[in-house]
């Protein structure tokens, strides 16, 4: 046996919270947010919070494929709308309520993500981005021509009159469900980032051939990422028909979802669990404020200006600014 001493470990990195502790903290924060909104008790407060929260889920979901694995998905709206139309179709066919519709939407989104992955993940860069954009166009065309879910006219979804205790109305229930989904999506995203899966996704984002040579099954990991990301994006879209009691293809497949899903992680900091959360809270709040003070048409203009500013001045997003240049 060699008597050579084992090399010393590197200077200790900052102690990081375990997965279990993070989930508990996220649940507590989620409960506090839900209680604060309940205390506020305003219909507009619920609506605005639901708007911001659905973007937290959407941006966080997009980041799992786009940020961790480096595959830019321009088809976020397709997954989001797939969730919304799953609610419409399942509500009409089986009379299901919101929660089972969210679960089914996640299944549909996951399957759509897996299928998209199988078809497109041998593409890279702009080619992959264009393929996902095409997915959105194809899916929208299908929905426009699908009369069962209202086709191009759209579909009305009536909110149930009765709401369970302790909610004071359906808006409160919807908002609380979105709080739970946002908290779960952030916790899932952070768990992935700090896990073996996150390490592998980061490796393939940096260099796919080198990752393969290091034993990383890149195709399998990309399929896992597209499935999880797709499931979460579709789940984010599932409550949409209940939000305005009406959904139509141009809204559900709207460019705002595709652009925001990319802009929010980019502004907050791509490839980190906290970046999409920060970006979504900032950008979605800003858009809500602009909607009530200037006009709803100003939304995408604001996103564009903020995005150009960040790309030029802080390409690593807000998280990158705080971490400093490594």
């Amino acid at each position: 046996m060699s008597d050579t001493a084992l090399p010393a470990l590197p200077s200790p990195a900052p102690r990081r919270m375990g997965h279990g502790s993070f989930w508990i903290v996220t649940i507590i924060i989620g409960l506090l947010v839900a209680l604060a909104l309940r205390g506020l008790g305003s219909e507009y407060g619920y609506f605005a919070a639901t708007f911001v929260l659905q973007y937290i889920v959407l941006a966080t979901a997009w980041n799992i494929l786009g940020g961790y694995a480096g595959y830019v998905n321009f088809g976020a709206a397709a997954f989001f709308a797939a969730g919304a139309y799953t609610t419409v179709a399942m509500g009409k066919a089986l009379g299901l309520s919101l929660l089972p519709c969210i679960a089914l939407a996640a299944l549909v989104g996951g399957a759509l993500g897996f299928g998209t992955g199988i078809l497109t993940l041998r593409l890279r860069g702009a080619y992959f981005a264009i393929a996902t954009l095409c997915l959105s166009v194809v899916l929208q065309t299908l929905v426009v021509n699908w009369d069962y879910v209202g086709g191009s006219r759209g579909a009305y979804v009536l909110r149930p009159r009765e709401v369970p205790w302790p909610f004071d109305g359906y808006s409160g229930l919807l908002c609380t469900v979105m709080v739970a989904m946002a908290a779960a999506s952030v916790a899932i995203s952070r768990t992935i980032q700090k896990s073996r899966l996150g390490l592998g996704l980061t490796a393939l984002r940096d260099d796919e051939a080198a990752a393969e040579a290091a034993g990383v099954p890149t195709l399998k990991l990309k399929l896992i990422a597209t499935s999880i990301s797709g499931a979460m994006m579709a789940a984010a879209g599932a409550p949409l028909p209940y939000l305005g009691s009406y959904v139509e293809p141009n809204t559900a497949f709207g460019m705002a979802y595709a652009v925001n899903a990319i802009a929010m992680p980019l502004i907050g900091g791509m490839g980190t669990w906290s970046g999409p959360l920060i970006g979504a809270v900032l950008l979605a709040s800003l858009q809500q404020a602009a909607t009530v003070t200037i006009s709803s048409a100003a939304n995408l203009m604001i996103v564009g200006v903020v995005l150009v500013g960040f790309v030029c001045l802080a390409p690593h997003g807000i998280v990158g600014l705080f971490r400093g240049r490594r």
Partner: protein, 237 residues
Amino acid sequence: MSEIVLRAEGVGKRFGGFTALSGVDLEVRAGERLGLIGPNGSGKSTFTNCLAGAFPSHDGAFTFKGQKLAGLKSHERARRGLARTFQLPRPFRGMTVIDNIRVPLAYAGRDAATDERAMECLESVELAAKANRMPKELTQVELRRLELARATALKPELLIADEAMAGLSHAEVDQILALLFRLNEAGTTIIMIEHVMRAVTEFSQRLAVLVAGKKVADGEPRAVLSMPEVEEAYLGR
């Protein structure tokens, strides 16, 4: 005589109408140090890529530790103990040096995925002090060492060092050579693909020469280097 760890039989590869490799046979024994040389464009890197599974060969077959490699992807070959380095260092630039080592430890499953093991890999290439640095803070020779550390984290039976010394100074070449000798002494079979002839002759127990995609020589280094066809390939007629 030690067992044959790698056998290439009639390996061929075409890119469109261009034949990059044609009928290459090669045997490598366990613990051997083989130098694979040839002028630019002779097919050395194509051979490496076919062996490592980066792309499929059109003809022939590779047998590694008695098992055919056909149909296995790069990561499956890596998990079986076939490691490679790249001509240009390809670190995972978004993660620290030690995380670069954690990737093969976590995925290849050939060794304990612990911080201690990652540090041992870095220590073996004298990079332990830079474990928490980012790859962009490393010098060229340190990046080469990181490539070797990442490959050794796979605990490979066979390592293909693809031009691991390209662009390095005399002293830096000696450093990498010393590392490769240590790895070999620890039991790793090494195929060195190199243009630095001093390193090749010092390191290799046997030389194989590729010219225009065909193997033209295979044998004891000095004898091979004095063969007329090898001189002609390097110096011209």
